[in-house]
Symmetry: C2
Subunit: 332 residues, 2 copies
């Protein structure tokens, strides 16, 4: 079915504008794709005749020009805060997932690197030191097999982690917003009331819940104290779910055996240097600090572009959009 007029998609995002060519290839001749970033006057001009927009949010100054938008494509999976006023009224906002695969890969890697003492052993051997070698009577390390994984949050990411952890012979327990029927890949799935049960058995605590009023600061000193001695914490969601100073103190006291932190309490601007916290997590040998990169893969980009283009093509054909976060029906 050939459309008589081309529709315009505007991409306004540092990560997605460079892929305009791929959007164009997948959408075909029915869509004109325009991409930019930084220049708000450019954005205001382009928005006037745009049918769809890829952006994380809009500067409020550009909202009036966005009244004709048919679809707002949020290029990620985070919760969209409707009250922040960064979205044009009346326009449905849709999101896209596909981050569960790389995030689950990251979590398994960090658990494995912890039990094997990867960093210590590779750094030692670069100095010619064979500590830990089974050939010459070294101290043995641990295995994932038989250990318990505790998941705070059990959406797509939690499920992807649990499925892989099962293949390693781990136990897996999860707590999420609402009670639910336990699923095959878990030993326990509970609501918020089961958090303390989960913490008492989790050799690995993975933060995989969204940040919201219920989860902000949910893991503090008392919660960390419930974990088994030497437990390992992995945060792939949002830093603010774990209280910054309580986490740091549990790490320097040795109560926690370590942490892998991919999300941070502060971020530098693009191109700038800086640390993710005012506390020196990056100086602790038991902590693996990574630059909010766990989901940021070539596969994620390819799948998200495909997912956004499929949603747009569906809408072009008059079908229902998928993954609608805001319906646009709350126009006052």
């Amino acid at each position: 079915m050939r459309e008589t007029t081309r529709r315009k998609l505007v991409i306004w995002d540092v990560n997605w504008s460079p892929h305009a060519g791929e959007f164009s290839r997948l959408l075909g001749e029915a869509w004109e794709v325009r991409a930019g970033q930084g220049d708000i006057e450019w954005l205001r001009r382009e928005l006037k005749e745009a049918a769809a927009l890829v952006a994380v949010s809009l500067p409020s100054i550009a909202l009036p020009e966005a009244r004709g938008l048919g679809v707002f494509l949020y290029p990620g999976a985070g919760l969209v805060d409707a009250e922040a006023g960064h979205y044009p009224l009346g326009c449905p906002v849709v999101n896209v997932y596909e981050h569960e695969t790389p995030i689950a890969e990251y979590v398994l890697m960090m658990m494995l690197a912890h039990v094997t003492g990867l960093r210590q052993h590779t750094e030692a051997l670069r100095q010619g030191c064979w500590e830990g070698s089974g050939r010459i009577g070294g101290r043995p390390h641990e295995e994932l097999a038989g250990q318990t994984l505790g998941l705070l949050g059990y959406g797509r990411i939690g499920r992807a982690i649990a499925a892989r952890a099962r293949a390693f012979g781990m136990r897996a327990v999860a707590v999420r917003r609402s009670e639910g029927t336990c699923v095959d890949e878990l030993d326990l799935l509970g609501g918020p009331g089961r958090l303390r049960d989960l913490l008492r058995q989790a050799n690995f605590l993975v933060i995989a819940a969204p940040l919201n009023r219920e989860t902000e600061g949910l893991i503090g000193e008392a919660e960390l104290a419930l974990l088994p001695a030497g437990a390992f914490l992995i945060n792939v969601s949002r830093a603010e779910i774990v209280k910054e100073r309580a986490l740091y103190e549990a790490l320097i006291s040795g109560r926690l055996g370590g942490a892998a932190l991919d999300v941070w309490y502060q971020y530098p601007q693009p191109g700038e240097r800086g640390f993710g916290s005012k506390l020196p997590f990056h100086e602790l040998p038991s902590v693996q600090c990574t630059p909010h990169y766990s989901a940021w893969t070539q596969g994620l980009i390819r799948r998200r572009i495909a997912g956004m283009c499929e949603n747009l093509a569906r809408w072009s054909r008059g079908e229902d959009l998928e993954r609608v976060v805001l319906t646009g029906q709350w126009r006052p």
Copy 2:
């Protein structure tokens, strides 16, 4: 059933003698456990009335005292070279496995650390550099999902690796000594004639075959050249299966994207320092060097002691031994 006389087990090994108490606990009152290392006169005295021995091999000077042995427990899974003359004639030699779990964990960890650029990113962030961050427009990394794992060797270790790789959405192909029916967790299982097919598609080549006349030097310059550009090699078996200089040159030329080496061309004596090769693999940023430690876990030790004690208890009851490597029937 209570035995009237206690039988004696002698343990003569740097790694297993320290666990004499655990052997004793599992074997119970029917067995006296004696452990030592280093003092050959002690060994010769103890062997005279021993019914069973845990050791990797015997010094030939102690072989005459070992004539009364009923079982020689080799505490590992390596092939036992009967012709080397380190085992008493007429005594069955049994081995024990249980290393497949930690070795598979190691292999998955190293594949994950490679695709995510773990070392580069953690070292960079310790300097405040956010290269690779999805939050600030960094360069994306890769995923395991969809990549092809090539296994040279498909015994217990290969199967444990393939099962986990499947949970990550990888393809898995394997070549082993003899042709075989393809199994569920593989896309291809072939004999030695399929090695070139395997190499052409393996993004990850894992050496998991035993060292013997067929495998020594099997992977050289020509074989490495068949791998896809940027492939990653992991050796968890024996270094000599991969030609030392050919591997080094493929790494420095960039033809290979990297390697994880846990087994080495040379080993230091216990307590000494040294490198695993005369070539400076440890100076290459694309190579993760580990001290022959992939299998050396607390879980391995626990399971191997249990496996050896179960075999001994079976023999005490007059039942057949399991995992017999040399039957003792080749006594001349």
